[in-house]
Symmetry: D2
Subunit: 342 residues, 4 copies
């Protein structure tokens, strides 16, 4: 039986990635695609790589009849998502890919996003969408908040270690390297090819990046005490991929064993042999995360690596994984395609 | 029912691409993978992006028991393929991805490849593997010769036009732009990242590229007279993709109509609206070909574009498409995944 | 003795490239830099790679006192340049990098740029700035019109051949591959890294690109009869460089000899040995043009290649070369730096 | 007066970069270029971007008459350099770009390079070539050992801080991102464009990279006690550039002031305003280093950034800077060209 879904904000990269993934999903049917500024256009003109698919024309959200929709993927910009979701009928399940419902504490939301949350009841209802760690709640949820792509990468490396108490909580450094597609399809000078190619730099340095709100929330909850990591993202001249290099104090063997145990039954989380080094190119376009632990020359220290594709496992793949759970389907449906290399 | 397949030469890019595609094919099962120099290794160490798959260990060809194999993909280097194929039992179907069986005329083989063919009987048996144009023969074939990736691209643009007699056969220019993966995983200085990135150049200029053997053979057969195109391939700083820009003399409307009619029922060939311009990024990682016709300002001239992914539609995707036909399966099985963009 | 210069439109790529080149020029001094929208900013904040230079703050054009200026580089957008230049004192020499004064015939300007020229007297005064071919006039000129970067590349390959009458004027195809910096620093979706990287496509196909106005004007003047080439530019995933692949009918040896003779005393034009293939990476960041001729397998046909850096020889380097001549300096001053490879 | 120089190992990237830089140096003349395997070839065929220069033909080292040579740049592979240098007349000054003379302690050399040093007397004589910190000794030296490019980058960020005692010596993390040209022109599978493009990964993780020998030596000497940093280099899909992200414990204002004071009179070291973020693209092809300090949200912690071009400031530019000093020339000669952007 086919479930009808709608994608709001289908003219952005996460929207297109959802369509790409769902195209081979046997039990989902795309019933509606919205894109306010491009309403009326064919998806093929906005994303020619999807031209071979039989897709509905782009419409405004107002034009969608949600009565026949089982689940909505909301891929709207941050801060606009909450108002739209508040208007959707409560019979519809929702996976939100924006930042609007990631932070449970309204004060934290205000701190990181600069204004008060407008839908605190919805925020209270939302389940944090890092599938591997919230699976039970996601299955029962009506509203799931997709995580930040950087936030997801860092958590895959650190959650099991913090939960198991095997690392020093005060000495965690996350150095993250990301491709440009995570910044979306917006017209900003620093996203131009001529500006970005052949160079790289940090951004939001000094632990000022908004995804720290997620790290703080999740790591502190796991530890039962406040945890503040040091976090620097970098923008690389490439389209897809995130690599987190995480520096921790702890025993490498114990850390490796902890990660290995945490992910032993996870279909998408692959812990490489100790000392191996994950590469973003080996997860490109897929829903897999590659992780590994490397001991440092100094005893009691090591580096943990996590690599994923920001548009797939970091957002739209994760969203589909959550949707599968919410609809009672096999969690891996539509998500087992191998990475594209070279 | 599952068909058992073997891939010979699985440590190259076309071998890996076959594994990637077959991973989501419901009716094929990979029973053996060979790689002479890397025999004994796990595929995961040679291609970490395939790590999540349950694959047989790499072996030498000699170690494979072909009695249980239904079909072999032979992704060996040019000139070594013919000797290996001669040793395979005649009960096994074969899709060869090398250049060894593309040219029907032994003299032409000698001219373009510099030595006599060693298996002329096999060469006589082989069917040229451009699926859309040899479908009937491929269904019945035991041995199918995959086309050159450049040769495929040019033929998608030109075959219907030559067959229909709508262009001047003496004034055909094919200017082709290709990514680097078509050159394979071999250790050559000019394939190094530092040599290739940030620059581009022609190669095999002066119509000396070996794929001209295929153009000559196919176009002359279609035209019923010798046809010699002018052909210049260029190497671009990117991994996947081929764009052919084909300059012809003829009436644009007639040419557009001819292409459109030729491909109207083809699942993988998409003729864009007249004047649209295909991009390699919109077919990346997929089995689709995008084509279009653009009239020139001068009457009686136009440009025909064709874009495809050299590793998919240009080789391994084409090979799987042919295998599907040879095994009596739906031609599109395992091949309908959408392109990866961005 | 130092000449004082001003650069109008210094916040674009050609403006920055002028500053980069002039930084090592012993006889030019940058007295003023304008950038209307960024007036008041330091050049170091607009272009951090120029941070080590002692440069004047960006101002509006109105703020510049032109009485002390010897020469102005006008790097303003097309169509805005002509109005500004009309206001400059006639004591100031001007090198214009826009398209405003490239076409001598007002009708041709109107045809290619879609509106009437507003300064036809200035247009009549302007000298076409392809240095190697207009050197005498440039030396005496007050206003020199920099050429289009694509137009320059094609002309380096073709001018000597048309002038010498050694090719068929009705069968000229220019297939051109360009990096993205030629499109400038403007905010357009198709110039984003995520849109452009890992793919390539033609644009302005069907011989509709504006630089055809220059080809038509120059080639027809040389031939003494109308010449219309077929021209397709392509946009590549790289920042700098243009490669023109030019298909002509003619005798390769004669064509090679003609090019060689034309450029034998030119400091920036290098004709490679026959059969060699120029690469954009080998002229990157420099004022050199690499050219070569390759015979086709069919008698009477050949391919001519020309490679240059669009921001240097294709615009700002050419502009400085012209300025040197206009100021009575050695033509090569500030322009002999070697290309940057890798 | 012109000094005669020779470059040994001119067919590698650092050799070519030396030629590029020296091409515009008014007081140096290239008298000999060696390249054992390519002896007899023209430099133009090995590096076509240097084709416009009048250079001596490549020879073997044996063919060079060192009696007329003032200074030799030795750009030979690690471990082969020491034997060659031992044979040079003592009247010749030498700048070695290999790793052979970087480590003063023979035990340290053996530890990091896996075999005993063969020229311990020469090693004792060599001066460590980080110009800004060994200027006095370099002026008087006969043999200067160029630093590792990664080692240089990390030291620019950390030396002043360690010397001033303003950071915790036990909590230093250097996360470094480098382009591929630092790996040289060698034929390795992992350096192929198809392997490297569109992905990134760490290498030599776990603080096993050889440049740690330099960090240990220099930082321990500065601190007067053993200092062991944690260091992870990453390989990025780009040709030139190194960015070091250095995590330290200390007071940001004090750290910023310390860096600023250390570099206030340095022509090539630019400390950006606090909070600014250096980018490799803004030093590309130049001898400049951009540095900055960013306070962390947690008191007493901050991040220090350093960006340089590995082939210029990280090796060949540094080598020329040292040669200038050794020859009594202005230190900046031939090195003031602006970076190439975009």
């Amino acid at each position: 039986m086919s479930h009808k879904i709608a994608i709001l904000g289908a003219s952005g990269y996460t929207g297109a990635e959802l369509v790409r993934l769902i195209a081979t999903h046997p039990d989902l049917q795309i019933a509606a695609l919205s894109a306010d500024r491009k309403a009326g256009e064919e998806m093929a003109s906005v994303f020619p790589h999807l031209r071979h698919l039989d897709l509905p024309r782009l419409v405004t959200i107002d034009e969608i009849d949600f009565s026949g929709i089982d689940l909505v993927f909301c891929a709207l910009p941050h801060a606009t998502s909450q108002a739209v979701i508040a208007t959707l009928p409560r019979t519809v399940k929702i996976v939100d890919l924006s930042a609007d419902f990631r932070l449970r504490d309204p004060e934290a939301y205000k701190k990181w996003y600069g204004k008060a949350h407008e839908q605190p009841e919805l925020q209270a209802e939302a389940v944090y969408g890092l599938t591997e760690f919230y699976r039970g709640e996601i299955r029962k949820a009506r509203l799931v908040a997709g995580t930040g792509c950087n936030a997801a990468t860092g958590q895959f490396a650190l959650r099991p270690l913090i939960a198991a108490g095997v690392i020093d909580l005060d000495e965690i450094v996350i150095d993250l390297k990301a491709g440009v597609s995570g910044a979306g399809r917006s017209l900003k000078e620093n996203l131009l090819h001529a500006e970005l190619a052949e160079g790289w730099h940090a951004y939001a340095a000094g632990s000022t990046h908004r995804h720290l709100g997620e790290f703080d929330q999740e790591f502190s909850a796991l530890a039962g005490r406040p945890v503040e990591v040091q976090f620097t993202p970098h923008l690389l001249p490439a389209n897809r991929g995130i690599l987190a290099t995480v520096y921790v104090h702890g025993e490498p063997e114990e850390i490796d064993a902890t990660l290995r145990k945490a992910y032993e039954n996870e279909p998408f989380c692959v812990v490489l042999p100790m000392g191996d080094l994950p590469s973003t190119r080996h997860v490109r376009g897929s829903n897999f995360v590659h992780l590994s632990v490397v001991p440092d020359r100094r005893a009691g220290r090591c580096t943990v690596f996590a690599a994923l594709d920001n548009l797939t496992k970091g957002s739209s793949g994760q969203a589909l994984q959550n949707a599968n759970l919410m609809l009672g389907l096999d969690e891996t449906m539509g998500l087992m395609a191998a990475p594209l290399f070279p």
